[in-house]
């Protein structure tokens, strides 16, 4: 037997109570694991790069910027390369099945954020073969069941064609993987030249420029310089890191992360209250035994550790089960829903488990530690 065995055996004295506690802890951490993976993955912010800058219109993300701005941005000595994107949103087959297309220059895209997207020269070569070729992200391809060589038709919500139609036909030239599981790959890449030539309106404009600063150049300072450059032009700009860009993008609808954090936080606070309450009673029932342990020479600190050990054990088992289930769920449904259970999510969850385990044991442990032996012995 070890000291930890003693804490464990104490926890199992009321098996039903302990199991119920562990179940509620497991459920709380399952929810936490899923929401944290969602925030981490669906926003793509986890895999988003902090070095890349996105230049969009200060008037709003849907306002186009003239292509002419590209050379002015490129003229800044801090800029290594400038790429550009025109985004299309549409659906395939049914309106619910929304897909996004980024129209870009494949070679430029490769130099600007080829690494983040997992682009290879072979992929760039493949899309270059004819004007209607597209590259599809791994997550999107898996969700739709698409394969290379297949033809797909996207009905655009926002970009009509010159010929009056809204159906854009493409042929899949390849599938890009994204740098890591956390990279957003639920979209496809088309050729800007083709889209620009065939669209009815706003020709020679882009939705965003993507800038890679030269090595050693501060992205923050460069962003400020670019915005100053266009401050008094017809199209003022707003330049942000890609991460900020993606986060701000979601924030336009609602601050999802804040809402999720509030809900999960409230769940944890409730959980804490419940466990503290149960543990205070559980330990009070054992006042006599704690007096006995003290009589045998267990110091106050050991009594403290014993009870904290017990709550930590309950939280570790319950939290471990919850997180394992969350991990399974993200592996099973991750690519489609964009859930990413990263090491950072795990580390944060373990930190929360530790804090809650210690916090919920603190009050009962403190009570037990302070009760004088003589008083404890008179409880029986």
């Amino acid at each position: 037997m070890t000291f930890l065995d003693l804490a464990r055996k104490n926890a199992w004295r009321m098996p039903l109570r302990t199991v119920l506690l562990m179940v509620s802890i497991a459920v709380a951490f399952l929810i936490y694991g899923l929401t944290a993976s969602f925030i981490n993955g669906a926003q793509g912010a986890a895999g988003a790069s902090d070095d890349l800058l996105g230049v969009t219109s200060a008037g709003g993300r849907t306002q186009p910027l003239p292509m002419a701005a590209k050379s002015r941005i490129a003229a800044d000595p801090g800029v290594a390369v400038v790429g550009y994107v025109k985004r299309l949103r549409g659906f395939v087959d049914v309106e619910r099945n929304v897909v996004a297309i980024s129209a870009a220059d494949p070679d430029l895209l490769m130099t600007v954020n080829g690494k983040e997207l997992g682009l290879t020269p072979a992929l760039v070569g493949a899309i270059g073969q004819s004007h209607d070729k597209v590259l599809v992200g791994r997550a999107l391809a898996e969700a739709q069941g698409w394969t290379v060589g297949q033809r797909v038709t996207v009905t655009a919500f926002d970009t009509p064609r010159e010929d009056g139609g809204r159906d854009w036909r493409f042929e899949i030239a390849g599938i890009f993987e994204g740098e890591s599981a956390a990279t957003d790959s639920y979209f496809m890449i088309a050729r800007y030249g083709y889209v620009n030539a065939a669209r009815a309106r706003a020709k020679d404009t882009v939705d965003a420029f993507v800038v890679r600063p030269r090595a050693g150049v501060s992205p923050g300072e460069l962003a400020a310089r670019i915005d100053t450059l266009f401050a008094n032009s017809a199209t003022p700009t707003r330049t942000q890191s890609e991460k900020q860009f993606l986060e701000a993008f979601l924030r336009q609808y609602a601050d999802i992360e804040l809402i999720v954090n509030l809900v999960v936080g409230a769940a944890f606070v409730t959980l804490l209250m419940i466990v503290v309450n149960i543990m205070v009673f559980a330990v009070r029932e054992r006042t006599f035994e704690i007096g006995l342990l003290k009589t045998l020479g267990f110091s106050r600190l050991r009594i403290l550790a014993l009870i904290l050990g017990e709550t930590l054990f309950v939280f570790a088992v319950g939290g471990g089960i919850g997180l394992a289930l969350a991990k399974l769920a993200t592996v099973a449904a991750g690519p489609v829903l964009g859930l990413v259970f990263s090491a950072a999510v795990l580390a944060k969850a373990i930190a929360i488990i530790t804090v809650l385990g210690l916090a919920s044991g603190a009050l009962p442990a403190f009570n037990a530690m302070r009760t004088p032996i003589i008083k404890a012995f008179r409880t029986r």
Binding site: M1, L6, T295, G297, I373, I374
Partner: protein, 233 residues
């Protein structure tokens, strides 16, 4: 038997009072007592005379209000809770009337409990537990839980737990108070063996005159003082 000349336990001018309903009720007002090393003392006296209070002070779990209480080289009356806690872990074993074994631990684990406070390996702890269980005649009962054992067996586990750390002092508060005659005699034989062969100093509170016969001497506590002291044969 060899007994040291210098007293092992010395109580000088011990005062102790409890507050009962706003009034201070004195239990001891200047109690003196010396016990040499290797003694086996039975303490008798009417209910409420302060026997348990005396034993609790010797165990370092209660403190005198005034007076000197020394055991070996330790001045228990001057030590704080942390120091007394460490002192208890190494110097004193205690046996209770109602055994006070932990129900979720089996016999071996109950006995092992005090060893968790010592810098011993798992294997050393197991060997020590085996040795004392053998001593109290319960080897083979390691895996039994207290609820499955008779009172006499539980008390022998209690004694094993009290001596597993090899303390010099053994304190017993009515160790046979809950046992039938036969089990009581087995337990008392064991205490006598521990005193005679292993040279433990024993202070035993008891209501049972027959139990007191196992001791070397009996002290009678009444109205906060020893009224009579007699040597057993």
């Amino acid at each position: 038997m060899i007994q040291d000349i210098a007293p092992y336990i010395a109580l000088i001018g011990i005062r102790k009072a409890y507050r009962i309903g706003g009034e201070m009720m004195p239990i001891f007002s200047g109690l003196d007592l010396t016990i040499p090393r290797g003694d086996f003392v039975a303490v008798m006296g009417p209910s409420g005379s302060g026997k348990s209070t005396l034993l609790n002070m010797l165990a370092g779990i209660d403190r005198p209000d005034a007076g000197t209480l020394s055991i070996g080289t330790s001045r228990l009356d001057q030590m704080g809770e942390a120091a007394r806690s460490a002192w208890r872990a190494h110097n004193m074993g205690i046996v209770f009337q109602f055994y006070n074994l932990l129900p979720m631990l089996n016999a071996a684990e109950n006995v092992e409990l005090p060893l968790l406070l010592k810098p011993l390996s798992r294997k050393e702890r197991r060997l020590r537990v085996e040795r004392v269980l053998d001593l109290v005649g319960l080897s083979g009962w390691e895996k039994q839980y207290p609820a499955m054992m008779s009172g006499g067996q539980q008390q022998r586990i209690g004694i094993a737990r009290a001596i597993v750390s090899d303390p010099g002092l053994l304190l017993c508060d009515e160790p046979t108070g809950d046992l039938d005659r036969k089990s009581a005699d087995e337990v008392l034989d064991m205490l006598r063996f521990l005193n005679r062969e292993l040279e433990k100093t024993i202070v035993m509170v008891t209501h049972d005159p027959q139990a007191a016969l196992y001791a070397r001497r009996t002290l009678h506590l009444d109205k906060g003082d020893f009224v009579e002291e007699k040597r057993a044969a």
